[in-house]
């Protein structure tokens, strides 16, 4: 049990360590509160909307071809088994929270390297029957969305000028110019 009380360490180190842990725990609670942590245990797309930076992805998904047939985690989390699923969720979720809370989010979002095979695997999971004949499953060099680029609509990301999402105001002219 010595390792639990950190007895072998000097007293100062022990205080610092437990203090640090306490702070970390406190922060975790705060983070969990701010970020609606409980919702991450569910599969609802609204979960992802806890972060406004996911809004474009949400909107484009809704308008894309799968808005009515698949939710975010159907594609973005592995479904091979529950362990892999939740491990991936935790790992990815933690990284995103970190990026988000430290305001380091990039201007343009892209699938991370690790995410590509996960998503591709999910396309296959649902569509294996339809593509049994063609040599697509084997093609790791080419993701499905090379062609089926409308999964999220055409222009995406945080900085997309998604005109569809903006009110279309009429243009105006100057009175003295109209004569």
């Amino acid at each position: 049990m010595a390792w639990l009380t950190l007895a072998p360490l000097a007293r100062g180190w022990r205080i610092a360590t437990f203090g640090g842990l306490a702070v970390a725990l406190g922060m975790a609670i705060v983070v969990a509160r701010i970020s609606n942590a409980a919702s991450y245990l569910t599969d609802a797309p609204e979960t992802c909307m806890n972060c406004h930076v996911m809004t474009d992805a949400y909107a484009s998904w809704q308008r894309g071809s799968h808005g009515h047939v698949a939710v975010c985690i159907d594609c973005h989390v592995p479904h091979s088994n529950p362990v892999a699923k939740n491990a991936f969720k935790a790992q990815d979720g933690l990284r995103h929270s970190w990026v988000y809370l430290t305001r380091q989010e990039p201007q343009v979002f892209r699938l991370s390297k690790g995410a590509v095979p996960v998503v591709q695997g999910n396309c296959l999971r649902c569509h294996a029957d339809q593509i049994a004949m063609v040599r697509l499953a084997a093609s790791s060099e080419r993701p499905c969305w090379d062609c089926h680029s409308n999964i999220h609509g055409e222009a995406r990301s945080l900085s997309a000028s998604s005109q569809t999402l903006r009110p279309q105001l009429p243009a105006t002219g100057l009175p003295w110019m109209k004569r």
Partner: protein, 438 residues
Amino acid sequence: QERNAEAQRPSLVLQPIAEWEPDNAKWGANYPREYESYARTALDTTKTKFGGAFPRDYLDEFPQLVVLFAGYGFSKDYLQARGHAHAIEDATNTKRIKVPVNAGTCWTCKSTDVPRMMAKIGVKEFYAANWHDLKKDITHPIGCQDCHDPATMRLRITRPALREAFQAMGRDIDKATHQEMRSLVCAQCHVEYYFKTDPAEGKKNYLTFPWANGTTVEAMLEYYDAMDFADWTHAVSKTPIIKAQHPDYEVYSTGIHAYRGVSCADCHMPYRTEGGVKFTDHHVRSPLLNIANSCAVCHRWSENDIKTRVEAIQTKVANARKATETAVVQAHFDVAAAMEAGATDDELAPARKLLRHAQFRWDYVAANNGMGFHSPQECTRILGEAANEAQQVRILIARLLATKGKTAAPSHPDWSTRDKAWAAVQAFVKGQPPKMLP
């Protein structure tokens, strides 16, 4: 969570902005993000392979321009454009401005004071005024007032020339969609123009876009030919030349991005996100300096792949441009050689007509920004036609020289550096052309 609130922009207007307010800083009090990014257009040390915001000296880099513009201001002083914040400064300093009298029209595209002054003294009067007299009233460089309605912040057209050009094409600019406006505000300035002087209509130096027949190079040539317009007579070949100025909107309109509804602002003023707020980046500049926000939003390739492709497109245009410039320069000298051999204006008329067209075609591409990227195939096509025409000039001249008993190829003066080209051209300007025939 709290940042969700940030994203839902409330009406942030602190102080209402007066109509015609020229001072960008006053607008900036209400819209700090837009203002701060706008202020960065003062940066002038960025370089890309063919562009960027620094005062590249075109005449040093391309001595052939000195010959091509022989007898015109552009052979004296021609720099690459910088950011909007420099507009007044650069227009004031260029040697192209004539002293003591220069058209007031030149101010039109340089300052937020222009709409105010036009409203005050009248449009015709503004154009007809002397540049130097207007100077004291023109103090704020291109800014908010040029593109925005201060009351609603909507985009609006503040320059009459664009509105009139639409009318001439039978189109109503007030019917433009929001997405079109995101290009049309630029089309107030980034377009080919000329100054119309017609006492019958009471017009002096009246800013006009030659679009009545359309905005393609062919439509403009037809327009200018019909009115026999020339900006100047070429010092070497005595050909009546039309200067093309930055037909950015016109060239863009023929490209794939315009076809797909992508606007100037989509690339040159992409959205940017800071904290939870998404706003329009008003640091108008080369998109190659900001590929992530600009191109990569639509093109999910690596930034490096995007840059490589753009440069490959531009390099092809740059090479075609060089080949065309050589042909057009040689055509000017060839025509001069025929004059040396005693050819008459009548005999030279067909050659000069072709040469006028070749030069305008070339300039339509050369004066347009982005080294052809806005419409790669169109720019390459036009340069090909210009070279073809220039070489036809030279065939005509070779035959003409033959009838004058001159069988050797004319020997052209050296134009390999700016200084040499300048010296060569000045000899023509002074009426003492060098001997080119044996």
